[in-house]
């Protein structure tokens, strides 16, 4: 850049307003940083220059990207440790990797093993790194990949970015020692106590078996080739049981994390409201892997919480998809939805209402409070031109009037109602359809047999097979991912590796397919609409294949 321009930029920088606050759902910088690191973070994560302008990344042939699309984080990831993409690796660019040589002749490596790290590369200096970013030339003088854009950063911005890279992944990681990995699982006070016990039985036994199979923490193994480092650590589980009203949960969680620092949160159990937990994990930068929640927080721009599915919100999408077919036939004009105010049905009903109105139906929501008497009255209101949706638990389904509603079509939430064990009265079963956000029983049998066998051997009572199978699956995913991470214990990196590896997996429990990617937080994206067959079997309705709303 011309000297005059550089001066102008420097002056603009001095005059620049303070950095605007990041959006509420984006994690604030974890360190208490110098202003430089904060500026560098805005460049790295959002492609935002100190002036407030968008950074421009120029690629060959006139292809360029702006702002958030040009941000370093897109390729080098929040951890700065890069990724595998296609047949290439995007290299790690934390200070540790850039400013140290990765020489094979070292006896003791204090760099964690990252596949994409360039071997035998000389360390960068501030000058050569600035040249790489501006001119696309590596420390060896050779051009960098065509994937790597060129960025016209002024000296102050460059210094800030380099300061940020030096700050990445250098802190010692909470919950990780040479011998022990600490994890937590979170249970909200409104979670079902029986489900809590069922989940904890799976978690405790999984951890116990993991530790029994590991021997004492082995010394670090080094290799001069590409092998992974295998280090065995003891896994320890902390159960964080929340109490009292939801607006106190975040401070309880802060206290838990301060007194029992953990590397990540595994599984967990929610009731009506998971939002305070989700937001805490996001603020704290704490990975939360696949909590058992039927009403998740939908925020695809968030990073730290991974969910198996959107739960009852997915079910609303499945039913909406069916309504689009119904809208073609004149059978249903009005949708009636019944739910309890003290449960998650309301959120699902609101989601479905939006889609139903778009399909041209009128929607009537019938929230119920405590007494069952209201339920019968609400059902009795429906007529032959209505669709009826029951967002109800087994105890409500069981006391429905023996005679089915006069509605043209009844749908029931599989998740809330107990899936194929939903205790609908007999006369309802032939016509009611169930929203079913899992693979069908006969298709998933082989995959689910494995955890069922394991529960049997460990003598774990199976009281909620789907939730317990999901918990077991989450543990397996954590274990596999950590194996591949070797000794690179970085919280963000754990999430990134799961994003990258999940789709490979063949054993997916109750789900036919699991897949994630940057910007995707829900691993299973579809479901079926099914009909009851016999007393407790379910079968697929004629119209429904796997639906992805």
């Amino acid at each position: 850049m011309a000297p005059a321009l550089r001066v102008a930029c420097a002056m603009a920088l001095l005059a620049a307003a303070p950095l605007p606050l990041a959006a509420a759902h984006r994690r604030a910088p974890v360190m208490a940083p110098s202003a430089s690191v904060a500026i560098g973070e805005a460049i790295y994560r959002f492609g935002r220059l100190p002036s407030g302008q968008s950074m421009k990344g120029q690629r060959e042939g006139g292809v360029y990207a702006n702002g958030a699309d040009a941000a370093c984080v897109n390729c080098h990831r929040p951890s700065g440790l890069g990724a595998a993409e296609g047949r290439g690796f995007i290299p790690p660019i934390t200070g540790q990797f850039l400013f140290h040589s990765n020489s094979e002749s070292r006896q003791v490596r204090d760099l964690p093993f990252i596949e994409g790290a360039r071997p035998n590369r000389d360390p960068y200096t501030n000058e050569t790194l600035a040249r790489a970013i501006r001119d696309g030339v590596g420390v060896d003088g050779k051009p960098l990949s065509v994937l790597m854009p060129r960025f016209a950063l002024d000296d102050a911005s460059m210094a800030a970015l380099i300061a940020y890279l030096k700050s990445l992944s250098t802190k010692s990681v909470p919950g990780v020692s040479d011998t022990v990995l600490q994890f937590a699982t979170i249970v909200t006070p409104d979670a079902d106590p029986a489900k809590r016990d069922a989940m904890l039985a799976v978690l405790n036994d999984y951890f116990a078996e993991k530790n029994a199979n590991a021997r004492f923490a082995s010394p670090r193994m080094y290799s001069y080739r590409k092998q992974m480092f295998m280090v065995t650590r003891h896994w320890q589980l902390h159960v964080w049981e929340l109490r009292g009203p939801a607006d106190t949960w975040e401070s309880q969680l802060k206290h838990f994390l301060a007194t029992e620092p953990v590397f990540a949160v595994i599984s967990g159990l929610g009731g009506r409201n998971w939002a305070p937990v989700h937001h805490f994990c996001e603020q704290a930068g704490l990975p939360c892997l696949f909590p058992n929640v039927q009403l998740p927080v939908v925020a695809e721009a968030d990073f730290h919480t991974l969910y198996f599915s959107k739960g009852v919100l997915l079910e609303a999408g499945l039913i909406a998809h069916q309504l689009q077919d119904h809208a073609a036939k004149p059978a249903i004009h009005r949708l009636v939805q019944i739910y309890r105010t003290n449960d998650i049905g309301g959120a699902a009903a609101r989601a479905l209402e939006l889609s139903a109105r778009t399909a041209g139906l009128t929607v009537v929501n019938r929230p119920l409070k405590e007494s069952a008497g209201d339920l019968a009255a609400a059902v009795a209101e429906t007529g032959p031109a209505d669709g009826l949706v029951l967002w109800l638990r087994p105890e409500d389904l069981a006391v429905l009037n023996a005679r089915p509603a006069k509605a043209a079509q009844v749908w029931v939430s599989g998740l809330m109602g107990g899936l194929e064990n939903a205790p609908l009265p007999a006369a309802w079963r032939s016509t009611t359809r169930l929203a079913y956000p899992f693979d069908l029983p006969e298709k998933r049998r082989i995959r689910v047999d494995y955890p069922l066998g394991w529960f049997r051997i460990r003598k774990i009572p199976v009281t909620d097979v789907q939730m317990q199978a999901d918990t077991f699956l989450a543990c397996g995913l954590l274990s596999e991912t950590l194996n591949h991470m070797a000794d690179a214990f970085v919280r963000d990196y754990l999430i990134e590796r799961i994003e990258n590896m999940l789709e490979h997996r063949v054993i997916t429990g109750y789900y036919p397919r699991l897949a994630l990617a940057p910007g995707q937080r829900f691993a299973s994206k579809g479901g079926y609409i099914v009909r009851f067959a016999g007393d407790s079997g379910i079968k697929l309705t004629g119209a429904s294949d796997w639906i992805v709303p």
């Binding site: 292809v63 290439g88 995007i90 065509v146 990258n500 789709e503 897949a515």
Partner: protein, 204 residues
């Protein structure tokens, strides 16, 4: 030395136009190569792919027959993307964008086709957003579908990756229905694409 062998094998692998099969374990094997070593590895080959008789869903929401979409007489230029991809696809779609605008007077003749390799995530609405981001002009269509339809399509075009994270940069071009496809593996620039395109049409 082991290192040289790895690089050589990697070069070989990248220059062969075979389908990248179950690329599950990225850590092992000589095919993996550092991204900065993969710079100028653009390779061109000709293959007689058969367009599968499959139904996809276009970004406007319409269910369409892929053969009908591709066999309307126009030359086709095709790539494979997913909307949340932040690495390879922005470059590939950015290149398509530049290519389309540089066609100038020839723009209306070329049918640009982008097929999602993440169909469960990439709904028609998301594809429309993605197309807008890359200033897709008329003549550039985006497609999604069921997982089965998509994987059948990818296999038919020799671009089946075990999962979307294993995808590699590939561009396919065909001058007219019935002709062979030009397959370009690697990161092709808009100018290179334009050159290949005109050469292909000239030799039609």
């Amino acid at each position: 030395m082991g290192r040289c062998l790895m690089l050589a094998a990697g070069l070989l692998a990248l220059s062969t136009p075979c389908a990248f099969g179950a690329g599950a374990d990225l850590a092992a094997g000589p095919e993996t190569m550092h991204i900065h070593d993969a710079r100028d590895r653009v390779s061109v080959s000709w293959v007689d792919y058969k367009v599968p008789a499959i139904q996809l869903v276009r970004a406007d929401g319409k269910a369409v027959s892929l053969p009908k979409e591709l066999d309307d007489g126009r030359p086709v230029v095709m790539n494979f993307i997913y909307t949340t991809c932040e690495t390879i696809c922005p470059l590939s779609s950015g290149t398509f964008s530049q290519f389309q605008s540089r066609l100038g007077a020839y723009r209306k003749d070329a049918h640009l086709v982008s097929i999602s390799i993440d169909p469960e995530q990439d709904t028609p609405a998301r594809l429309r957003e993605y197309a807008k981001k890359f200033h897709a002009g008329p003549g550039w269509s985006h497609y999604t579908g069921t997982v089965q339809a998509t994987s059948t399509t990818l296999q038919a075009f020799g671009v089946f990756w075990a999962d979307k994270m294993s995808h590699t940069p590939v561009t396919l071009m065909r001058a007219a229905p019935g002709k062979a496809w030009m397959r370009i593996d690697g990161f092709v620039t808009p100018d290179q694409l334009l050159t290949h395109y005109h050469d292909m049409l000239a030799s039609r």
